[in-house]
């Protein structure tokens, strides 16, 4: 499950201008990287142009899926991932990125390119959705807890078995000690005949 690129584009009228983009092209061979990057940029631009404001879309393309979310303010975010990456995580990532972007850079700066170093961090962080997405993290913690609890319950069951065997043995001991006591008593006070 990988993310290949995140990009933020400005989307006014019918055309889209990329404002910031980060790529993770480690998978591709060295000589293919530039063409792949261009292709991804073009893909993001096309998809962002075709998305209306306030709309989310996922576009399939050979091995990759592009998730795009266009906001009413005129920016759109595009995330290109492979097919296994869960769409929900991609959209929540887009939400977060676009919120931060809009808060940091007001409308005047939206021309040309913008330096947005957090994009690279986000790209790296979200490579593993189970770590980064809060819902998945909670789910994973809960599953771990459930496994631990199952083991605990098994331990408690074994403890119960041991306690049962302990009960038996202690009852046996109790009866034997009683016999011992009675014998001793008998020997002591009965039958004065040696």
């Amino acid at each position: 499950m990988k993310i290949y690129s995140i990009s933020v584009l400005r989307n006014d009228g019918g055309s889209a201008h990329p404002l910031a983009a980060e790529y993770n092209l480690a998978e591709f061979g060295y000589f293919q990287r530039s063409s792949v990057q261009e292709f991804m940029g073009f893909f993001s631009k096309t998809v962002a142009e075709r998305t209306l404001a306030g709309q989310r879309q996922s576009v399939d393309e050979s091995n990759y899926v592009g998730h795009v979310y266009a906001r009413a303010e005129g920016v759109a975010g595009v995330v290109i991932t492979d097919k296994e990456y869960p769409a929900r995580v991609a959209f929540s990532l887009l939400n977060k990125i676009l919120d931060e972007f809009i808060m940091r850079y007001p409308v005047e700066k939206w021309s040309g390119t913008v330096q947005y170093p957090e994009l690279a961090e986000y790209l790296k962080k979200y490579q593993d959705p189970k770590q980064a997405d809060s819902i998945m993290k909670v789910q994973r913690d809960l599953d771990d807890t459930k496994v631990i609890l199952h083991k605990t319950i098994e331990g408690v069951l074994q403890r119960g078995e041991k306690l049962d065997s302990l009960i038996e043995r202690s009852e046996e001991l109790s009866s034997q000690s009683k016999v011992f006591y009675k014998t001793a008593k008998k020997t002591n006070s009965c039958c004065v005949v040696m």
Partner: protein
Amino acid sequence: MSFRDRTSEFEALVERLQQRHDNTVLERRSLIQHAAPSHERIKNKTEFSLIAAEIGRNISNTTAKLEKLTKLAKRKTLFDDKPVEISELTYIIKQDIANLNKQIAMLQTYSKDQKLGSKQATEHSSNVVVSLQSKLATTSMSFKDVLEIRTENMKSSKDRRDQFLLSTSDQPASSNYESLLFDSPNRSKTKTDSSPAIIPLESQEDTLSLGIPMLTAQQQQEQQQALMQEQDRYIESRSTAIESIESTIAELGTIFQQLATMVAEQRETVQRIEQNTEDIESNIIGANNQLLKYYKSVSSNRWLMIKIFVTIVFFFLLFTLIM
């Protein structure tokens, strides 16, 4: 003659009185003036009241926006919904509430850092902070209510829309178009509560009244439907994920219950074992005592000695008699 120089005390008293007077005056007037008190305590307290007043103003702004949002969210009509505005407003209000939270937290730490002179001043500042916090809490509660109302309305409007679309999908598109062209356009907008099993004429009326505000009702409905589906897919996936989390938590709850029950049952078993061991102990102690007594009696009984002697003599006599 000896005298004490209490000028400094007098000066301190005067300053304190003046500071108190300044503070009450400042808090009554508006806060655009920058009174220049020389004492640092006064300046800090002025800053405090400045910040507190600004927070209060922001809270009132946010409440006003929230009221606007409430009005928008309460509208039950099918098409004047303005979802974009509502979502924008929600987003703005959310940001405002987060900002206010941060500001109040800052104010609280600020007031804690201050070494305000009198106990009353610290009490006053903490009271102000608490009241601001409670105002913010009520605002966020009402915000939450408004959001709930909004989701309910959206759900009901979606149901109505589905009902309408169900009824329109029964008709071919051309007949709708004809009804638009040929029927007279003066019909009122129908409110909902049409059941899906309606006769074709009524459904035509409904679609006609749907068609009045928009020209190509069918196409736009389809577009909106696609849009809503896409939105719904994302939102549905989120809701399913959260539901699975909820069910996992419920499972964990039951597991804990079972664990507690098992341990409680085992407590009974443990008590039995304890009793058994106590019985064993008492038995063995008693037996020990008996043996001790026996040993004592064996080792020190004169009567026993005589008996043994008599027995030996008896056997001796017996043997000699046999011989």
